[in-house]
Structure formats: C-alpha cells, structure tokens
C-alpha cells in the first residue's frame, strides 16, 4: 500500500472526516484525494471499522459480566427505606444484646426489681411527686392591697376547673373590708360569688 507524500497533509483530516466534523471545503478536497488514493481510503475504512469493533468489543465484554443482584443492589441504595419500627427495634436490641450482654442482664434484673417494688407505689400514687391528691384544689387567695381588686372564685365542678377571677373594686376601698384581703376557701364554691361578665371586665 504505497502512499505519496501529499497524503500526510490529509491524515489529520481523516478523523474529523469520518466524524462529520470537517468543514465542507476541506471535505470536498479530501474526498477528491480519497478517490485517487487507495492508501488513505483504506485508512478511512480502518478508522470506521475501529469504531464498530470498539462497540462490539464492549458489548461482548458486558456479556461476560455477571449482573446477578446488580439491580437489587442499586435499588437497595436508592431506597434507604427504613425497615418497620419493630424490625428496627429488634435489630438494635439484638446488636445491643450481643455487645453488652452482661449490662443488659444486669439492667433487666434491676428493672424487674424496681418494677416489683415501684409498681404498687406507682399505682398508689399514679402520678409524679406531689400528686397524691385526686384533683387540683384551691385553698386560699389573697390579693395584693395595692391592686385594688377583689378575687372571685368560680368552681366549675363538671369541668373540674376552678377560676380565680379578679374584679376591680368599685369606689374607694372600705377599711373594714378585711375579707377581701384574705380569703381562705376550704371547698370554696362559686355559687355565692358574683358572676361578672367577661366583656365588662
């Protein structure tokens, strides 16, 4: 396959030519050369064949690969879906138990002991510290003298609610009106208390 020295000028154009990236005027010139030069047109054939072989080669290489579990792995990575709550709980417990067996056993024993003793007490009280009583109850109200208000206690028994309302004192304060300063209300009831209108307050 002989070639003439003029060929070398065209070689860099062979690649863009087969890729369709050669400008029209260069292409016309090259094609004219190719029609006359067997060496260069053989090179073009080779370059074209290369592309086909590369694609074929990759296909064949892929055929040899094992894709078992490939899609599964991808899906596992794109769905970081957490397992159901109890499953997660079980897994973390398993792991914890495996690594801290003695600690778990001690804790379980302690918890059992506490529960055994603590449960009756808890049932007895049924609430946090200070809540041995059944309902919230008002014992006493004493308003500040300078506020010039008097307290009105309203008991809403059905709702188990107590409202301590403060009503503005009308006119100058009576000196003998000590009751308004210190109300001790054992089982106070709103029945006798005035019923102020909210809007008027």
């Amino acid at each position: 396959m002989a070639h003439n020295p003029a060929c070398e000028r065209f070689w860099p154009e062979l690649s863009p030519y087969i890729d369709g990236e050669l400008d029209p005027s260069s292409r016309v010139q090259l094609e004219r050369h190719l029609s006359a030069c067997s060496h260069c047109s053989a090179l073009v054939d080779d370059f074209r064949a290369e592309g086909g072989l590369i694609r074929l080669g990759l296909d064949m290489a892929a055929d040899e690969a094992d894709f078992t579990g490939f899609a599964q792995n991808v899906l596992a990575r794109v769905t970081p879906e957490r397992p159901p709550f109890f499953e997660r709980l079980r897994i973390s417990f398993d792991e914890f138990f495996t690594h801290h067996r003695s600690m778990v056993l001690t804790s379980v024993a302690t918890a059992a002991a506490v529960l055994l003793v603590g449960l009756p007490i808890f049932l007895l009280q049924g609430a946090p510290q200070g809540y041995a009583g059944e309902t919230m109850e008002l014992q006493a109200v004493r308003v500040a003298e300078e506020a010039h208000v008097q307290p009105v206690v309203l008991e809403a028994e059905a709702e188990e609610a107590t409202i301590i309302w403060l009503v503005d004192q009308e006119g100058p304060r009576r000196h003998d009106d000590e009751d308004f300063q210190h109300h001790v209300l054992p089982g106070a009831s709103g029945r006798d208390a005035p019923r102020p209108k909210g809007g008027e307050l």
Partner: protein, 153 residues
C-alpha cells in the same frame, strides 16, 4: 467467696428499701414538684381559639359567665416547683409570677402562686386531675390567665 456472693443481695435489699424511703413523705425541702403552666390571653378581639383545645376553656369560662370570644395560648411550660427557691415566670404584661412549694403533706404538694402587685398568694393543692385558672392582670385589650395543670411526666 462467701463475701463476694453477698453483694448482689445487699444491692437488692437497698433497692427494696429505697422505695420504702420514697414512700414516706419526702421532706418538703427536697421535693421537686412538676407543674404545667400555660399562659392564655383572653379577649373579645376577634374570634380566635388557638390552639383548638382551648375551646374547652372557652366553654368553661362561658358557663361561669366569663364571655370572651378569643382565647390564645401564649406559652406552655413544664416547671419544677421547689421549696428552696421560687420558680419565676415572666408574663407578657410585664408581671412576674412566682411559684413555690409551700408544703408537702402525704404526698400532696401545696403550691403558692404569687404575682407581686396583684396577687399576694394563691394556695393550690395539686391533684392528678383538674385545672386552676388564675387571672393575671390586663393584657392588650383583654386579660391574661395563668393555667395551672398537673404535669404528665
């Protein structure tokens, strides 16, 4: 060896004994009593009940003749009340609420609520149910109400 084996029993005894100690009325001085304190603004400006659960409060108030159209919860806090130092809460109307454990009797706490300049003291014994609404002065065009509720731990 004997002595080695004895320690778990000692520990168990201590565990069993501890609740018995707790069961006694704890000294008031050491007690820490949890309490839920909400601050609610009531007014006749608009018709807003926020959050919705305040509709119960609205109904209770209405039944007692306290007709307000708007109930807005401004804050809700779980506080721990002790005898040593008062727990302070600042209200939006500038007033200060002070809560202090007044007494602890047979597992029942009595809490003293004070709002200087308005309320010298309100004494409330705590219980597992019920609620105490304490008027706490003016706010905006309406009133502020302190809501004392049992704390669910």
């Amino acid at each position: 060896m004997q002595r080695m084996r004895a320690w778990p029993w000692v520990a168990c005894l201590m565990l069993l004994a501890a609740p018995a100690v707790w069961a006694q009325d704890a000294a008031t001085a050491e007690a820490k009593v949890p309490l839920r304190v909400d601050v609610v603004s009531v007014s006749n400006d608009g018709d807003v009940v926020e959050p919705r659960r305040l509709s119960r409060m609205k109904a209770t108030f209405a039944k007692q003749g306290l007709d307000f159209s708007s109930f807005r919860r401004l804050s809700s806090e779980r506080v721990e009340v002790t005898a040593q130092a008062p727990t302070q809460l600042k209200l939006p109307n500038g007033k200060q609420v002070s809560l202090r454990l007044d007494r602890m009797e047979k597992g029942t706490a009595r809490v003293k609520v004070a709002i200087p300049g308005l309320l010298d003291e309100t004494l409330v014994t705590l219980g597992r149910k019920g609620v105490v609404y304490q008027a706490a002065g003016d706010h905006g065009g309406g009133k502020l109400v302190l809501v004392l509720r049992p704390s669910r731990r």
